[in-house]
Symmetry: C2
Subunit: 238 residues, 2 copies
């Protein structure tokens, strides 16, 4: 909670003495209750932005979904875009966690890790299309701030991908001018575009079809890079 929003709360609700930080109500600290309200707005944002669309959503509709008043909204967020940024972070975080949890059980082999990751990601998207909608549609073209977040997210997932397949995408074994960062972004781009199209088409194809096609793209690159690393004298791509 920022100082500004604290001040806003005090100003807009001078009579609610219990709302002042540090006071307790039914044994729960105000801080804990505020965190709980914030979380309810995040879930409401995921729901409303992810189904109705960001541009068609109002703070009022978010509040209705959360079952909380606008005063509480502005306690945690300065506006709708602010909430969108938080919902986006939250979505990315949940995806990261799900993928990492999957990897705990996957065999320690690059191809199997890649398949498990793709399968996990596809399952999350199909099971919660609101997340897919936020990820692939709603965050695009909103503002420079959201654009910057989107780009940072692409870099983060590309780095995650790079770490997973690190032994093969190692810069030292790659013949110039191949770069692990560019190759990782290329792989991520293929995933983003195929999954986005899958979502827009209503998730018609089975998860296994998508996973196999995306997996073959990744495996093909990994195998090719192994061949290139073994024969560094050959030209990179010809």
């Amino acid at each position: 909670m920022t100082d500004t929003s604290k001040a806003a709360v005090k100003k807009s609700a001078p009579k609610k003495a219990a709302a002042v930080t540090g006071r307790r109500y039914r044994g729960v600290s105000e801080e804990a209750r505020q965190a709980e309200r914030r979380q309810r707005f995040i879930e409401a944002g995921l729901s409303v932005f992810g189904s109705r669309g960001y541009h068609s959503s109002t703070v009022r509709s978010i509040c209705a979904e959360a079952g909380l008043t606008e005063r509480y909204f502005y306690e945690s967020f300065s506006n709708s875009e602010d909430l969108l940024c938080v919902v986006y972070d939250y979505t990315n975080q949940r995806i990261r966690e799900r993928i990492l949890a999957t990897l705990m059980d996957a065999p320690r082999e690059p191809s199997a890790i890649a398949y498990a990751t793709l399968e996990a990601f596809l399952t999350i998207m199909r099971d919660d299309p609101r997340m897919a909608q936020i990820l692939f549609v709603e965050v695009l073209g909103v503002s420079e701030r959201v654009d910057a977040k989107y780009r940072a997210s692409v870099e983060n997932f590309a780095q995650l991908m790079q770490q997973m397949i690190a032994p093969l995408l190692d810069a030292e074994t790659l013949p110039a001018p191949l770069q692990p960062d560019i190759l990782s972004v290329a792989m991520l781009g293929s995933v983003i575009t195929v999954v986005s199209r899958w979502m827009i088409g209503g998730f018609r194809e089975p998860i296994a079809t998508l996973a196999e096609n995306l997996h073959v793209v990744l495996v093909a690159l990994l195998r090719h890079l192994i061949i290139l690393a073994d024969a560094p004298d050959s030209s990179a791509s010809k």
Copy 2:
């Protein structure tokens, strides 16, 4: 020109008899002059949307750039979004033409065709960053209509890619569940995402670096698919 916009012109400029279709001015038909004005607005749209951004652009600023009055704008376009759609089509068309022109001179060999296509596309983007800006940033998140155009464009370019590498991405030689349409969209997605990132980073890396990295992704897939087609009993991606 639609009937509606014709009516709008007549209504808003009743005194300009020469503007009525079919009349001539200095030997040029009104239709030809209107087409020329429309083209000036498209160039102005490319310039203004591509540098200032769609959301920061007004019809007024487009008109100033075109050196034409708003009356002429509404003669050809119903609003700013309408012009954006036309500018987007125009950009896509110019890219298609440049790529096809490049392919006329490229050797008839899939790997060389792919490299020439990538190089041509990267050169167009760097030489006219306004086009890259329209393609990768400005058309996103504007409206359902523009979103639909963007998706149609992805499908079109994926089909173009599929045609170019047709012999290898042939559905009949691909072991199930691999699909040429999904693989083409994956390849296009890797190009879109890498080039978009390159643009946002100010086109720092040389064209050859980008082309080689994207080419290796494509070549790797093609080689892998050849191996799979030769050994159809093996699992597609494992």
